[in-house]
């Protein structure tokens, strides 16, 4: 086993024992803390908002599909539950793509209104969260287009990964240690991440956030972005590479110290 893999595992372990620093999508309840302690904070978070399940596998909360059905049957409260269940994730994604808090809040509101308006067309065989994410991404891209802030993908969408590849060096200064939560306490690091996202095209931001934050699969992202799986992989590769180089420059090279 390489040192790199051991360090990655160490990151995961350190993140798992610090429940106060859980990502927002995990919540702070015991079930989700357990989920992290099982060692999966970096995976499968797209299901983090899934209904809670009891000890014998009994659902403690209604599923998304249950809520959709109850809403269509005329139960007003069901739609409110859906909104409250997904509002943080929708806002986080919208903010990541739009890069403006006010616009992200408007987009969050508008996304749920669109969901309400089109929910009769929602196909029960599909995943609600994938459908919701598609609405959010389309809404954000449209909003950027209208505001004249949309720029097309600036990289080739082909699968050619020649040239500079992914970094083989850490992108966080060693003075911050290997604990990601500690690195995130550093304002410079946070600012650099935000600035790095600003440099990406909306499509690259969307694909990066859908994968890294929402934990969606390539297939789910391809459906949302209406492109091939290969295009998703390529966009993700370029977005990651660009972010890595930007962060390394912003956090390490320019300071010329830590790494």
């Amino acid at each position: 086993m390489t040192q790199g893999i051991l360090q990655t595992q160490a990151w995961r372990n350190q993140l798992s024992v610090n429940p106060l620093r859980l990502p927002w999508y995990m919540g702070r309840d015991s079930q989700r803390i357990e989920q992290i302690q099982r060692g999966c904070p970096l995976e499968d978070i797209s299901r983090a908002a899934s209904p809670k399940v009891g000890p014998k596998g009994m659902a403690l909360e209604p599923s998304d599909l249950d809520l959709v059905t109850r809403h269509l049957q005329g139960e007003d409260k069901a739609f409110e539950l859906l909104v409250r269940r997904y509002q943080r994730r929708v806002y986080g994604l919208a903010l990541g793509i739009l890069r403006s808090r006010e616009d992200a809040l408007d987009a969050t509101q508008e996304a749920f209104i669109r969901v309400h308006k089109n929910i009769v067309r929602f196909e029960r065989s599909a995943s609600f969260h994938t459908w919701l994410h598609r609405i959010v991404v389309n809404l954000c891209i449209d909003q950027l287009r209208r505001a004249g802030r949309y720029k097309a993908v600036e990289y080739e969408d082909g699968l050619d990964h020649t040239g500079d590849g992914l970094l083989a060096d850490p992108i966080v200064p060693t003075r911050l240690g290997t604990d990601p939560s500690r690195a995130l306490e550093d304002k410079e690091t946070l600012d650099a991440i935000r600035a790095g996202l600003d440099t990406l095209s909306p499509n690259h931001r969307a694909v990066l956030l859908l994968r890294e934050v929402e934990g969606l699969s390539y297939s789910e992202m391809a459906k949302i972005m209406r492109c091939s799986k290969g295009t998703i992989m390529s966009r993700l590769f370029h977005a990651r590479k660009r972010m890595q180089h930007f962060l390394r420059n912003a956090l390490n090279v320019e300071k010329g110290s830590d790494v």
Binding site: M1, T2, Q3, G4, I5, Q7, T8, W11, R12, R21, L22, P23, W24, Y25, L42, I45, E80, V83, R84, Q87, R88, Y91, G92, L95, G96, R101, A104, T108, Q109, F112, I113, H116, V120, H161, L166, A168, D169, P170, I171, P180, S181, A183, L184, T189, L190, I193, R194, L208, L209, R211, E212, V213, S217, Y218, M233, L236, F237, R240, Q244, L247
Partner: protein, 190 residues
């Protein structure tokens, strides 16, 4: 050292490899420290992004999102007639290729029905109006005093209408002449 390209590393990181591919990639990682560092850099980026988005989302006041959504939905009027027809068609006919033809035929039938209704309706209204006026003009007779004379009462029918005639004979005319002239004033229509 075996090679492990970025594409495979990315798929490994994202859980897109099959179990067999994953096992193979992990065995390659064991002999390739450079690939391990690239994998670690990917994990670092993921954690940083999640953490940053998390902190940004934590700073937002999302308490009012539902209230805003509810208020906006409340403002929106009930779906229009066309929208309801479209939804109904969508639900009942799905993606049937001839659904719009059927919808057009239904609309045509509806238009014809409305036109026919509009054409027949005024007459019905007129008839009802006449009946009401007739009822309004109808006099109610409680008693008729013929001063001891003998009237003849008969009705003249003219289609749907009828006229009641009361013919009062003069006192001195016990026997009517053959060519008796019409009495002054004529018959009394009631």
């Amino acid at each position: 050292m075996t090679s492990l390209d970025d594409k495979t590393l990315q798929r490994l990181h994202d859980g897109d490899l099959s179990p067999e591919e994953t096992r193979r990639a992990e065995s390659q990682l064991a002999t390739n420290p450079e690939a391990g560092r690239r994998l670690e850099a990917l994990s670092q980026l993921q954690c940083l992004l999640r953490g940053a988005v998390s902190q940004d989302a934590d700073q937002a006041d999302l308490v009012e999102v539902w209230d805003r959504v509810k208020a906006d939905l409340g403002k929106q009027a009930r779906p229009g007639a066309w929208e309801r027809v479209r939804l109904w068609l969508g639900e009942s006919m799905g993606t049937h290729p001839f659904r719009w033809v059927a919808a057009g035929a239904a609309m045509t039938v509806l238009a014809v029905a409305v036109t026919l209704f509009a054409m027949t309706r005024p007459e019905d209204t007129k008839g009802a109006k006449t009946a009401v006026e007739a009822a309004r003009n109808q006099l109610e007779i409680e008693a008729l005093d013929f001063k001891g004379r003998h009237p003849d009462i008969f009705q003249i029918r003219e289609g749907e209408r009828s006229t009641t005639v009361i013919w009062v004979h003069p006192d001195d005319e016990d026997e009517e002449p053959e060519d008796r002239p019409a009495p002054p004033g004529g018959p009394e229509d009631i």
